[in-house]
Symmetry: C2
Subunit: 211 residues, 2 copies
DNA sequence: TTTACTTTCAAACATGTGTTTGATACAGTT
DNA sequence: AACTGTATCAAACACATGTTTGAAAGTAAA
């Protein structure tokens, strides 16, 4: 995930530290709940630093967003020399790892999840830069599997069905933890989840294709 | 959905007005974002009323939660004289109506969705009183369809797959609105969604059962 | 070194928050 | 009518928030 603190000047370093800290705090609390003071405390910067470098708390959030990992995932998938079903399996595997692996930089996903629940102006940016391309990507992939018999509206609902299953494990994590306290999102569990979603969804898709 | 303002004494009426207003405001903002002053303004009560009648903002939230509609839905479904597949279809239809119909009292669902994103002590109550029974209900229903060949863990993932699809339309509503501004959750659309989830999921379940 | 500019800092500002207070109005009982 | 416990109210309290300010420290070119 690479931290950003490798810049040059002292000013650039504080900027980078602020961005790192902001990603952490925005991932832990929603926009309203995250405080500038907490971010600055973790970045070891003065409270005024956020407004000096980013204009406002909102400006900081906008710059803290980073979708490069998500874009890379899609690019690698498109370039992979595999059949559509296999690419769906690969995508769900990589996507769920990104979504659930705690050691990884899923901070971006967490921030996005919080924006869904309580939108700020940043959601427009997230939708146009990250979610819309992602939905288009999966739509095209499903179209390769499903053929031309299925309407555009039905295809879209299949995309929703898949992302819905994926996001459930992130959104409902607080609930699942209470229902099954032993639950841990380790590598093995994540792969089992991805495999389940793949099988479940492929069956659903095929059924709709031949109906 | 029946408002609660039909009580006896003046004190009970303000209590009821406060609860109604609280459900509205908690549904619109998350717990932190909802302000006592806004609730009291809508209830046409004094700011001190919340603490007088409910002890605190948290106490108000705890009393504002109400899962009777959800429980009634399950009870009716269990008592229905239909085959399991048909009961799944009925459940998803009713559940999605409850989840998405804006005219209906989906305020409870909205509050629950907000608690998922940013848990407060009320989430424990929500999980034990509403979500755990709901998951158990759907688990039993799926077991009737899927038979005994599938492990408990796989069955649970099927439950997750279904609820994931359902919740997606609520959680991601802000996103879907931006992606497809013409989208409206009218009765017809909700029924189409429920039908899609039913077909998609039944295919997924059957596939896992015979694997 | 001097100068001009950028960056940091402690403090203050303005506002919004949940909660408390003490007085006042109201209800029902005697 | 007088009394008593309850409910309402405006005001204040205590605290947290994002942001601004003006001075101090730092930086780099002349």
């Amino acid at each position: 995930m690479m931290s950003e603190v490798e810049a040059k000047t002292a000013s650039e370093q504080t900027r980078a530290r602020l961005l790192d800290a902001a990603r952490e705090v925005f991932a832990e609390h929603n926009f309203q709940g995250a405080t500038v003071r907490e971010i600055c405390r973790r970045a070891e910067a003065n409270v005024a630093a956020v407004n000096y470098h980013f204009g406002s708390k909102e400006g900081l959030l906008a710059e803290a967003l980073n979708f490069s990992q998500l874009a890379a995932l899609q690019k690698a998938n498109v370039q992979a020399d595999e059949c559509p079903k296999m690419r769906l399996r690969m995508f769900l595997h990589d996507f769920m790892l990104m979504l659930l692996d705690e050691k990884n930089a899923s901070t971006q996903c967490r921030i996005m999840a919080r924006e869904l629940a309580d939108p700020t102006p940043a959601l427009d940016q997230i939708v146009s830069e990250a979610i819309a391309p992602l939905h288009e990507f999966l739509g095209k992939l499903l179209r390769e599997i499903i053929g031309d018999k299925v309407s555009e509206a039905e295809l879209r609902r299949c995309v929703y069905s898949i992302f819905g299953q994926c996001q459930f494990y992130r959104h409902s994590h607080p609930v699942l933890q209470r229902l099954h306290p032993k639950l841990r999102y380790d590598h093995k569990e994540i792969e089992a989840i991805a495999e389940h979603i793949t099988e479940f969804s492929l069956a659903g898709i095929k059924h709709l294709a031949k109906k």
